[in-house]
């Protein structure tokens, strides 16, 4: 199968800081990929470059063989902070993508309403963000990215601001939604168990400079239920990834404290 997304010899520098060095990745259509690593490993920068929000210093990002030069409707970005517009309703927020693209017609509205139902927000279309809980706001965030019907979903630690229980629910919800459409997903997180639970493959990044340390294939059967997190197989994956990044995490923690 030809790759949906190809990242070739990607470098990123912020002045003296080498954020990413020589990243090479190939992602198949419909693959669910997570990126984990200690803070400062450049995983969010990597996602932003794929999104076209940040330019690479060297190297290329190709989607369906075409080079990425900026944001585009073939990618939907789910932000860490929900970034909802407080003056818009849930539906109005979810419709922003089609609206910007100049096709906010009745058909798009119907499709967006279907998406809101898919993410579990039926009946909340006319609510404003301030009336919603954190978990619900992230559902809107996800529906907003899906509303432009992107080929690739880019998710930047979308559940990191949620409490532990809500986060687990949202993980199963995300898998349920993903099973419906099987979009290609690039999911950045610092939770190893979250990455293993969701993904077909976990890309483990190292820091200083940010680079791809190892690509771990997760062959756990799908569909996955939360109970899978307690199986020895699942724990083995988590342990393996944790050992890969442990030293880096310790170093970054000490650095942050200093």
């Amino acid at each position: 199968m030809t790759a949906k997304l190809t990242v070739a010899r990607l470098d990123k520098r912020f002045d003296a800081l080498e954020a990413l060095r020589a990243i090479d990745i190939s992602v198949a259509p419909g693959e669910f990929i997570s990126v984990v690593g200690p803070s400062g490993c450049g995983k969010t920068t990597f996602l932003r470059i794929v999104a076209g929000l940040e330019a690479a210093t060297a190297g290329q990002v190709l989607i369906d063989g075409r080079a990425v030069t900026g944001p585009g409707s073939n990618r939907g970005f789910v932000f860490q902070n929900d970034n909802l517009l407080p003056w818009r309703t849930v539906l109005g927020n979810a419709m922003i993508g089609p609206e910007v693209a100049g096709r906010a017609g009745a058909a798009e509205k119907r499709r967006t309403l279907d998406l809101l139902r898919l993410v579990g927000l039926e009946g909340f279309e006319d609510y404003h963000p301030r009336q919603l809980s954190g978990g619900m706001r992230q559902r809107v965030n996800l529906a907003r990215a899906l509303a432009i019907d992107p080929d690739i979903l880019l998710m930047d630690e979308p559940f990191s601001a949620l409490d532990a229980q809500t986060r687990e629910i949202m993980q199963t919800e995300l898998l349920r939604i993903w099973e419906q459409g099987r979009k290609t997903v690039l999911f950045v997180t610092h939770q190893i168990d979250e990455a293993v639970f969701l993904s077909d493959r976990v890309l483990v990044f190292a820091r200083r400079p940010g680079r791809l340390q190892e690509s771990v294939d997760v062959t756990l059967p799908r569909p996955r239920a939360l109970a899978i997190k307690r199986t020895p197989e699942f724990v083995r994956y988590v342990d393996h990834i944790w050992r890969l990044i442990e030293d880096d995490v310790r170093a970054s923690v000490i650095e942050e404290r200093a």
Partner: protein, 274 residues
């Protein structure tokens, strides 16, 4: 998406549930305000009748009400209110338009900002009301000299707030829109302008009080009619009830307009309430 999926989701711990609005403040607060005002008026009445007991120095609330009624009946009050109201309205509307436009211009370009900032900051800090005699000298004692004073006092808070509102637009929201490939124009219309609206409204609200001060003080310096004229005439004649009548009418106008503005804010920018 199947029906069972929705049900499963609704039963989940993280399932959406509507968040209740905060309850309205208890009734006691309104009562406390009312009691405070009534007590104040009563003390004022007693003080002016029995302690000061000199109508050349202080008028009692009942005398003021009588003065307002008699001025209203003769049509004199209506004339003063109409003139002051016209001066205020023309000046306020012009200042709002110019102020918002200037704020947009300053926010849109660093060069414009550097060029305008010293003037805006300088004139905002200057008590420009002191220029009223000069404007009267230039434009006569008719309404236009007052309109100009109103513009000078209302313009700068509106400009400064418009610029601040646009400047403090969340970079995250701008980036969100950028991720959808939005043009700068779309970013302005869909994010910057709505998020600056509460600031612009706050500037306009601030302008009400300043505009009223401008009208009255400019009229004190020289005018044929208006509430400021009524006040200065009454002061010259030691007619305290009519002097206070003018002041009270102004106070009521200020309170009503500010309250009306708060209502507009609640309607237009409800997301700033919480």
């Amino acid at each position: 998406m199947t029906a069972t999926g929705i049900e499963a989701n609704d039963n989940a711990a993280g399932a959406p549930r509507p968040v209740r609005h905060r309850a309205a403040p208890p009734r006691r607060i309104h009562v406390a305000g009312l009691v405070s005002v009534v007590t104040g008026l009563l003390l004022w009445e007693l003080l002016s009748r029995f302690v000061i007991a000199n109508p050349l120095f202080l008028a009692a609330p009942t005398q003021i009400v009588a003065a307002i009624l008699s001025l209203a009946r003769s049509g004199e009050l209506g004339h003063h209110v109409a003139i002051s109201g016209l001066e205020f309205a023309i000046g306020y509307v012009l200042a709002s338009i110019i102020g918002i436009a200037l704020g947009l211009a300053v926010a849109s370009s660093a060069t414009v900002k550097r060029a305008c900032q010293p003037w805006i900051s300088g004139l905002y800090a200057t008590p420009t009301i002191a220029l009223a005699p000069l404007f009267i000298l230039w434009f006569g004692i008719g309404i236009w000299s007052k309109v100009l004073v109103v513009i000078f006092l209302v313009l700068f808070p509106v400009t400064i707030n418009t610029e601040a509102g646009l400047r403090t637009t969340s970079p995250r929201l701008i980036e969100m829109l950028r991720s959808f490939g939005a043009t700068p124009r779309q970013i302005f219309l869909k994010v910057s302008l709505p998020s600056a609206t509460p600031f612009i409204l706050a500037g306009l609200k601030l302008g009400i009080g300043r505009g009223l001060i401008a009208v009255v003080v400019a009229e004190l310096f020289g005018s044929r009619a208006g509430l400021g004229r009524l006040i200065s005439q009454s002061a010259d004649a030691f007619n305290m009830p009519e002097l206070f009548a003018g002041v009270i009418v102004l106070a009521v106008a200020g309170i009503v307009m500010t309250a009306g503005f708060s209502w507009i804010e609640r309607t237009l920018v409800p997301w700033t309430r919480d």
